[in-house]
């Protein structure tokens, strides 16, 4: 699209992040505007899992995290060997979902991301229904190969989209002084509604 950017038409299948099972297929358009993130995405997906099952799983995840007597505080998920403690899997899953929002906002036509590791996670127990976590996540940036450290605060409740606020710093440069705190509320932008695992 002359002068305003490049539009890609995509058709792809999705798999469950954890189990690897087929989770549905999607049709999407992605518009990269002159190298300025975030890309504008239009997407429509058909899920193989039925809505009820997704809700059940969301609820199970929610209950596990909600009924902590002590707030979860953890670091290095996975650990250096690649192991994730079963009790911490829901925490990892939340981090993945939240990070995907950060990665979407940062992506350009030439820069892509994966979540490499959760460096730290801290739960805040709230009086209302929401789950709240502070994360430090490490993102792997392609093709620069850099590891970007991002601080992310995430709130969620089943049936509601994830709310993510974040601030990223490049590992090599340390925290950039006041060059803009990037924060955003993820209200209804993500194709994923809540956590689907």
């Amino acid at each position: 699209i002359l002068d305003s950017g490049r539009k890609y038409y995509l058709q792809f299948t999705t798999i469950d992040y954890k189990s690897g099972e087929n989770a549905g297929s999607c049709l999407a358009t992605v518009l990269y505007q002159k190298k300025k993130p975030p890309p504008v995405v239009n997407i429509k997906c058909t899920e193989t899992k039925d809505q009820k099952k997704i809700e059940e799983e969301d609820n199970r995840l929610y209950q596990k995290l909600r009924h902590q007597t002590k707030p979860i505080i953890a670091s290095n998920i996975p650990d250096i060997y690649g192991n994730i403690e079963p009790a911490l899997e829901p925490v990892w899953a939340l981090a993945v979902a939240g990070s995907s929002y950060i990665m979407w906002e940062k992506s350009t036509e030439n820069l892509g991301y994966s979540m490499a590791q959760v460096k730290s996670a801290r739960q805040w127990i709230r009086k209302d229904d929401f789950i709240e976590f502070d994360f430090t996540v490490l993102l792997h940036e392609i093709p620069t190969q850099e590891i970007i450290s991002c601080h992310m605060r995430l709130t969620w409740r089943p049936g509601h989209p994830l709310k993510v606020k974040y601030f990223c710093a490049s590992e090599n440069q340390g925290l950039e002084d006041g060059s803009g705190v990037e924060s955003g509320s993820a209200t209804g932008i993500l194709p994923e509604k809540g956590a689907k695992f």
Partner: protein
């Protein structure tokens, strides 16, 4: 840290013990709370290492009897976690190929593997790393009167890609365990020699174990020791420094001060250069992404034997997929991944080695560099 077994005899001693626990913030294992300490009853308390002497002195002063129940808590912890690192050394008979190993263990493994397979395996010195460590490769060669062509494989050029050295070790084990029984491997070794370098970037690998798990480059110092590391896979003499690199040491894709500026690069390059007329295939193993990459990274112009390269690559990907359904993409780096220059694979091809491939092993980003050990076996089996 030590765990002490204490038995206070009098009420005064109980009080003192309670006082000690709260002032030194000791970790009571039995009973759980200081207020439950009674005269004549067993107390088990964990004392952090720096406070051990002080605690013992205090107990002595008040004539409170104690015994050391656990002299070293950390040691016990390590022993009780069979999946984690233990301080026990592994020998090849008991060598666990489904676990990640430290460089020290890998050095030992190389020595042992040669000893227990001396009719086939010889270990050779290749050169020194930036931090002066020795680099060795293993030569697997069936004695015969004909000169054989060589297949070279190196792993661990990027420190954080732990599945890569794990694969090299697995590969060697598989060949040695099955060369007598598997007709394909037998035929293989009748006509070819295998040269395997299990860890190319030794310094970086050690650094990723001890300091920073996601380290990528080597550990050569720059700018008066204020910045470390060159990306060894941008340091080879193939369109060096032209694209997909940084000239800044602080970048993960810093290409070094010049082509082959790094001792590790030179060690490998000099050897391969010398043997190039006999080398049929150059393989370099990375992670992650699940790709079989062909030259070039620096240009989209296809190499002279592009069709053959693709053919063989596609066959390999198909065979790989048969095992567990894992899909690998095949193609030139510049077309299916991103542009980069100075890669070892490109260089190998430009000096005349016809089959040159980069393997990017599992996964596609879910775990990325921190691939769980449970995936070592399936990854290696399918790649084999």
């Amino acid at each position: 840290d030590q765990v002490l077994h204490v038995v206070p005899d009098t009420y005064q001693q109980v009080q003192h013990l309670q006082h000690l626990c709260s002032t030194l913030l000791l970790d009571l294992w039995k009973p759980l709370l200081p207020e439950d300490i009674w005269a004549g009853e067993d107390v088990h308390v964990r004392v952090p290492a720096p406070l051990v002497q002080e605690a013992k002195d205090s107990l002595d002063q008040h004539m409170i009897s104690y015994k050391v129940l656990i002299p070293d808590v950390q040691e016990l912890v390590e022993q009780s976690m069979p999946n984690e690192r233990s301080s026990n050394r592994q020998i090849p008979e008991g060598y666990v190929y489904t676990q990640y190993h430290t460089m020290e263990e890998i050095y030992q493994w190389m020595t042992e593997i040669q000893k227990s397979n001396s009719e086939l395996v010889t270990r050779h010195y290749l050169g020194k790393t930036a931090e002066n460590r020795s680099m060795y490769y293993l030569q697997i060669s069936q004695p015969s009167d004909k000169t054989k062509k060589i297949i070279w494989m190196d792993c661990g050029i990027h420190a954080r890609e732990w599945i890569s050295p794990a694969f090299c070790q697995w590969f060697v084990k598989e060949i040695l365990q099955n060369y007598k029984s598997d007709p394909r491997i037998k035929r293989f070794l009748e006509n070819l020699d295998l040269y395997v370098l299990p860890v190319l970037n030794i310094d970086g690998y050690i650094y990723s174990w001890e300091k920073e798990r996601l380290w990528r480059k080597n550990r050569s110092p720059h700018m008066n020791g204020t910045c470390y590391g060159t990306d060894l896979n941008r340091n080879f003499n193939s369109s060096w420094g032209s694209v997909g690199v940084s000239y800044n040491c602080s970048s993960e894709i810093f290409c070094g001060s010049g082509p082959e500026s790094e001792p590790e690069t030179r060690a490998v390059a000099q050897f391969i250069e010398r043997k190039k007329s006999d080398i049929l295939c150059y393989l370099t193993i990375h992670s992650y992404g699940q790709y079989i990459l062909t030259p070039y990274g620096s240009t989209t112009n296809p190499p002279s034997n592009s069709k053959e390269l693709m053919d063989v690559g596609e066959k390999a990907a198909a065979a790989l997929m048969e095992k567990y359904g894992t899909s690998y993409q095949v193609g030139s780096t510049s077309l299916i991944l991103y542009s980069n220059s100075g890669s070892s694979r490109d260089w190998a091809h430009t000096i005349g080695i016809p089959f040159s491939y980069t393997f990017e092993l599992r996964d596609k980003g879910t775990h990325g560099f921190v691939l769980p050990p449970a995936q070592i076996q399936p990854t290696c089996e399918e790649t084999m």
